[in-house]
């Protein structure tokens, strides 16, 4: 176990060389009552200490540059290096957000162009780049829906429908935007149960949130009818772009009938996940919702770009400034680099890779929804329960072979679920190795279940006690 940074170093060590005070000292003008009584207990380390420490920690982590990461619903694709370099250009990374407008025209132009590109990809009429993550995109979209409905005398519409397999952020976002949430069941094919939907839709329904392909990886083939059912009661249709990697360039949410869309730039548009953020979740809308987008929106007036705060209908600000700009630069580079054909190839190859793996794994594993799935699919690892093997045992065994486990136990509608998403940036060789290992692990489950139950064996720690962690939380260092 690596010691904590607090346990390293010695009193008096320093890792920074600051300039000498070149002005008079005014500290005696600071009232005593405002002063800190005891100094903050920060580490006392040298620069080599810091570098060794965090480099050591990095070796105990798992990145997509080094390893296959078939993590369903997360789109762990390769993150192009050129995008990192471009985002680090000083004209992007060292610009203050409150500089005069004419000194930031390049930033604004980039944002304006990205807004337009995303409109094209989504089939929407306007985009805001402000949401800092997919979940923030969702709540922004729902606030737009709420305000639009209120402004049109439709306050009584307060029900948001979500499928039973939806991501937890969908109902959470809807509730925070003031809606009541109702759940629609999935049918045998893993799709929204159309009959149930029709029965649940009435004048009080404000809208439906849907991922398409949905959270079991299956394309909702009745999407046009779903849209018309929702629209028939003046409801709005929200597209959760979590799975857009399957359809980018093939079909546009706007053409499916959706009124609002959020994309996760850290998924579909390859910006690195950074260990859990920063992401970016731009929100796009059809024309009739444009004036509700958060302030400010980047606009163009002849050849000048500007931040427009003028819309009186806007839901207001949702980010301290304009969104995760550094992430936007990377996504913009990605789209320009790939172009139209390149983006279509993304979806084609992501779907081909997933179908190939599914076909191979289907030889020995159970795939509950085996028709019409696209860039990802679910395995129900419940065939070895008699041996005491659960989905997590098989998943964690992959760690021993240098592969990140698939998403486990999501969605909850499938027992012992493993959700597998290979992405388009993996070669057939990698996919074959993965399938071979999955087969080997399955055999191990039959022949040597104890081996699986105690995996992983190759890391610095073994399975961790989550119950103890949650019962008596230790969430900071104590001497």
């Amino acid at each position: 176990m690596t010691k904590l940074i607090f346990e390293k170093g010695k009193p008096g060590r320093r890792a920074i060389h600051l300039p000498k005070m070149d002005t008079p000292d005014y500290m005696n003008t600071l009232s005593k009552k405002y002063m800190r009584k005891t100094p903050a207990d920060l580490p006392e380390v040298s620069e080599p200490d810091v570098v060794r420490h965090y480099t050591d920690l990095s070796t105990k982590n798992f990145g997509v540059d080094a390893n296959f990461y078939p993590l369903g619903s997360c789109t762990m694709k390769y993150n192009p290096k050129i995008n990192e370099y471009m985002a680090a250009l000083p004209g992007f990374s060292d610009v203050h957000p409150l500089q005069p407008e004419h000194t930031v025209q390049g930033c604004l132009e980039l944002m304006h162009c990205l807004q337009q590109l995303l409109c094209e990809i989504a089939g929407m009429d306007a985009f805001s780049l402000q949401p800092a993550a997919g979940a923030q995109g969702e709540i922004t979209g729902l606030m737009i829906m709420r305000k639009y409905l209120n402004d049109h005398g439709l306050e009584h519409k307060n029900i948001i429908l979500v499928p039973d397999s939806s991501h937890g952020t969908n109902p959470a976002s809807a509730a925070l935007a003031g809606f009541t949430v109702q759940t629609i069941p999935s049918d045998q094919k893993g799709q929204t149960d159309l009959q149930q939907l029709k029965e649940m839709v009435h004048d009080g329904v404000a809208g439906l949130m849907l991922t398409n392909p949905n959270t079991v990886g299956v394309f909702e083939e009745h999407i046009e009818e779903i849209a018309s059912v929702i629209h028939s009661v003046n409801g709005l249709l929200y597209y959760d772009g979590a799975n857009a990697n399957a359809i980018v360039g093939i079909v546009r949410p706007g053409d499916m009938g959706f009124d609002l869309v959020h994309f996760n730039l850290h998924k579909t548009f390859s910006t690195p996940h950074g260990g859990g953020g920063p992401g970016s979740g731009p929100i796009g809308v059809k024309k009739f919702l444009e004036e509700y987008l958060p302030n400010p929106v980047v606009k163009k007036d002849s050849d000048r770009y500007f931040l427009d705060y003028s819309s009186p209908c806007s839901i207001g600000k949702i980010h301290s400034f304009y969104g995760n700009f550094g992430v936007l630069v990377k996504a913009y580079c990605y789209i320009l680099n790939l172009g139209r054909e390149g983006l279509i190839q993304v979806a084609e190859n992501a779907v081909l890779n997933a179908n190939y793996i599914a076909k191979r794994l289907g030889e020995f594993l159970k795939i509950p929804f085996d028709k019409g799935f696209m860039h990802e699919f679910i395995v129900s690892y419940d065939t070895l329960l008699d041996q005491g093997i659960h989905a997590k045992d098989a998943a964690k065994r992959l760690i021993d072979f240098g592969i990140h486990p698939p998403t486990m136990y999501f969605p909850a509608i499938v027992s012992e679920a493993l959700m597998i998403e290979p992405t388009e940036t993996e070669s057939k060789e990698t996919l074959d190795r993965f399938c071979d290992l999955m087969e080997q692990i399955y055999q191990e489950g039959i022949n040597d279940p104890e081996l699986l139950k105690t995996t992983p064996h190759t890391k610095t720690v073994r399975r961790l006690d989550e119950v103890a962690a949650a019962r008596n939380p230790v969430i900071k260092y104590m001497e």
Partner: protein
């Protein structure tokens, strides 16, 4: 084929044949033809890497960056020195290209780093618990109100009139849908006037929000505010400048309930407003109510210490519509930068950076208010940011400075109707006496 796709045509053909179909198009048969439209997407042809780099360099070149200028703009984002160590370490692919550390055994490095981040934030703020960060300073405040409301269940939120107006706007957006409203507290001499709060507002409110140093740079009397909050059964929520805590009283010392703030200053670039991080810390009774991700220490099955994401039952993926927050990420890489930055600064460094900022700001303040171009706006004490009123149109003054590549402050006219010609000026440890002498000299010439 785009260069990020390794499979060749031959491999694709092999895969298709294994699946038992003749073309990739068959994989998309599940999508109705009526909505499929491959020509609808008007995206230009892909650029080569050389063309792409040329285009981006040209766009980047259209912006004035703070290395080519002298930046005195603050107002929520600060031009601080970022040690090379920070950038070098956060660029390591194991951190940069990792997902959220849900698979604890394979993610001990990042989990430990976040645990250290939480500990560093606790030590800096004097609080008992910190989460793994949220989006930014504004959303951190919105989350704080949501947390407070889950305990207090009142309809109003008392907000200092000296709060960053952008935070206020974010807060207003979030509370509007929860049947709450914000009530602004008057200010006097650049600080919050708690005595001005009406009895009615007090009775209907569950929390009191102050910023310290506040948006105008002035220092609030946090001890009194804390006593006031306790007396009236309010949660005290404070948004703090993290570097100021090198020398200023910590929120733990004055017993705040929830502490939030913008963490950009801690080793993160200005980056035209993001990505930054919102830090979020609480007193002991509120730990189990904190939104977002939290890393906890535990043991593995052999008894070795290790780290996991913990207290997840609060979160949206479990509580769904009953969750008090929908956040499902943190600004992990930015939080990592903050942790490394605070480790580099260390116990003495954070005091030194705070003192340098404080002294330099006071040097410039004293210099400028002696000129006839500016006069002081407030007499309250301040940290590293202050407001001056200009005798003439403030835009003209800023333009004159900009001609000399000096970004002199941020005009407050758009945000405060009674501050038409007021300038909010920030000074960090990066500014030199020489630069500031030039600013003062130019002011003398202009008056």
């Amino acid at each position: 084929m785009n260069k990020y796709i390794p499979n060749t045509q031959a491999q694709k053909a092999e895969m298709l044949s294994y699946i038992g179909i003749d073309s990739v198009d068959r994989l998309f048969d599940c999508i109705p033809d009526s909505i499929k439209d491959r020509n609808g997407m008007n995206i230009p042809e892909g650029l080569s890497d050389i063309e792409l780099e040329g285009k981006l360099r040209s766009l980047s070149g259209k912006n004035l960056n703070v290395n080519d200028a002298v930046c005195f703009i603050g107002a929520g984002a600060y031009d601080r020195y970022i040690p090379a160590v920070v950038k070098a370490l956060i660029s390591r692919q194991e951190f940069l290209t990792a997902y959220t550390p849900y698979q604890a055994e394979a993610s001990q490095g990042l989990l430990q780093a976040i645990f250290e981040y939480q500990s560093l934030i606790c030590n800096l703020t004097g609080m008992e618990g910190s989460n793994a960060s949220v989006y930014d300073g504004g959303s951190a405040l919105a989350e704080a109100v949501s947390l407070s409301n889950s305990v207090k269940r009142k309809s109003r939120v008392l907000v200092s009139g000296c709060l960053n107006p952008r935070y206020r706007q974010v807060l207003d957006t979030y509370v509007r849908y929860k049947d709450m409203k914000t009530v602004e507290i008057d200010s006097a001499d650049g600080v919050t006037d708690l005595e001005s709060i009406s009895k009615d507002d007090l009775a209907e409110s569950g929390c009191l929000i102050l910023q310290n140093p506040n948006y105008f740079g002035c220092l609030e009397d946090m001890e009194s505010a804390s006593e006031f909050a306790k007396r009236n059964g309010l949660h005290l929520i404070v948004s703090v400048n993290p570097i100021s805590l090198g020398i200023l009283q910590s929120p733990g010392e004055y017993e705040a309930d929830i502490v939030t703030g913008e963490g950009q200053e801690l080793g993160n670039g200005l980056s035209f407003g993001g990505p930054y991080l919102g830090f979020f810390a609480v007193s002991k009774p509120l730990i189990r109510k904190m939104p977002g991700r939290i890393v906890g220490m535990t043991k593995d099955l052999e008894g070795k210490a290790g780290y996991v994401l913990t207290m997840q039952a609060r979160e949206q993926h479990i509580r769904r519509e009953k969750a008090s927050s929908n956040i499902c990420s943190n600004q992990a890489l930015n939080a990592l930068a903050a942790a490394i930055y605070l480790s580099v600064l260390g116990k003495q460094g954070v005091v030194d950076v705070a003192k340098l900022s404080f002294n330099k700001a006071h040097y410039l303040y004293n210099g400028l208010k002696e000129t006839r171009l500016f006069k002081e706006r407030f007499t309250s004490e301040f940290f590293n940011e202050f407001v001056l009123d200009a005798g003439v149109n403030v835009k003209q003054i800023q333009d004159a400075y900009l001609n000399n590549k000096i970004l002199l402050g941020y005009g407050l006219a758009n945000e405060f109707s009674d501050m038409k010609n007021s300038l909010l000026i920030a000074v960090t440890e990066k500014r030199t006496k020489k630069e500031m002498d030039l600013v003062v000299e130019m002011a003398g010439d202009m008056s």
